[in-house]
Symmetry: C2
Subunit: 201 residues, 2 copies
């Protein structure tokens, strides 16, 4: 595609580097910015620059934070005996939204994925191990990773690393989604929901 201006070509090239955004959408977004007032573009770019250069991570759980230790890690209302291991911030937000969990978190910042060149040392697994070592407070580690190949590999690896510490390791339940029609559940999920059945209460 030939662009009428080098400036728009450069902007489209940069915007379309973002995941899930192709050249056509990038052009649409760039033209949108050109139609809006200058200030809205500058507000956008400033917020992105600020985000990238000033963001901090919690020393303990590695979640995004405005301080050295995040609001959850510092809170006295949370159950300090539970640590829920998740892939990223979005999972923390999703679990917080359920209102069903009151423990702490450990944000790995990714999952083991040899295809994408992500090994165990690229994510915060060692930090989890040292967080658990010599810490009598934690009684249970809940692995809340996505039920994908990468998530399962990561869960398997973490369990291998921490199973000798005196801490219970659990996994979030897999089964048919609440509100979903049974006939639409895939075979693996349905199969898993039968083998992992629980007592009717």
């Amino acid at each position: 595609m030939e662009y009428p201006s080098k400036l728009i070509e450069a902007a489209v090239a940069e915007i379309s580097r973002l995941p899930g955004i192709g050249k056509k959408t990038a052009l649409r977004l760039a033209l949108h910015l050109l139609r809006e007032r200058e200030e809205s573009t500058f507000a956008l770019t400033e917020s992105l620059n600020n985000l990238r250069s000033k963001i901090r991570y919690c020393n303990q759980c590695h979640n995004l934070s405005d301080h050295d230790v995040c609001g959850i890690c510092v809170s006295h209302r949370r159950e300090r005996s539970l640590i829920c291991v998740v892939e990223d911030t979005r999972d923390v937000m999703a679990i917080e939204n359920t209102g069903q969990y009151t423990g702490l978190y450990h944000v790995l910042g990714g999952v083991i994925s040899p295809m994408n060149g992500v090994g165990p040392s690229d994510i915060k697994i060692e930090s989890l191990v040292s967080r658990l070592t010599g810490n009598a407070e934690t009684r249970e580690v809940i692995l809340a990773l996505s039920p994908t190949m990468e998530g399962d590999t990561t869960a398997f690896y973490i369990n291998k690393r921490i199973k000798d510490l005196s801490v219970k390791v659990t996994v979030i339940a897999r089964g048919v989604p609440v509100g979903g029609d049974l006939e639409y559940a895939d075979e693996v999920t349905l199969g898993r929901s039968i083998t992992s059945r629980t007592l009717f209460s």
Copy 2:
């Protein structure tokens, strides 16, 4: 939704102002930038700032341009007797890609849309009228606007403004899309393709 950091909250708010991008996608994009190297965020924001502050428009056709007059308006290879009126740069690029048009353009920068508060004076219609007035070069104006209510209104208005000038006004053909199955064409399009039928050649 409660964000773990004010910085990410601000970035999500700004990103989700863009058309077609919701809060969830915005968060995904922001977290993507945090995972990438700092330089890629800065390259993105710099290209957007440059685009917004340095972009120029062609004096004649109002298309985006790196110079005062764009490459098409300045070219000796283009048929100077034809002016194709379009809504924005994307339309110019789409028509250029067909390789079927060798005339000039006039980019309105929008269409008349009372719903969005866009009137005739907000787009480059007066500029088209003065471009045609006292210019013996132009023989035909082709209206290539989207076949929507706004596009039709704009075409109607432009025709009213320029019909007394000694210039032929044409509209791009509407009919069944090439390669499309007839049974899937909507009634209005199919009806139009019958009333606007042309001689078999």
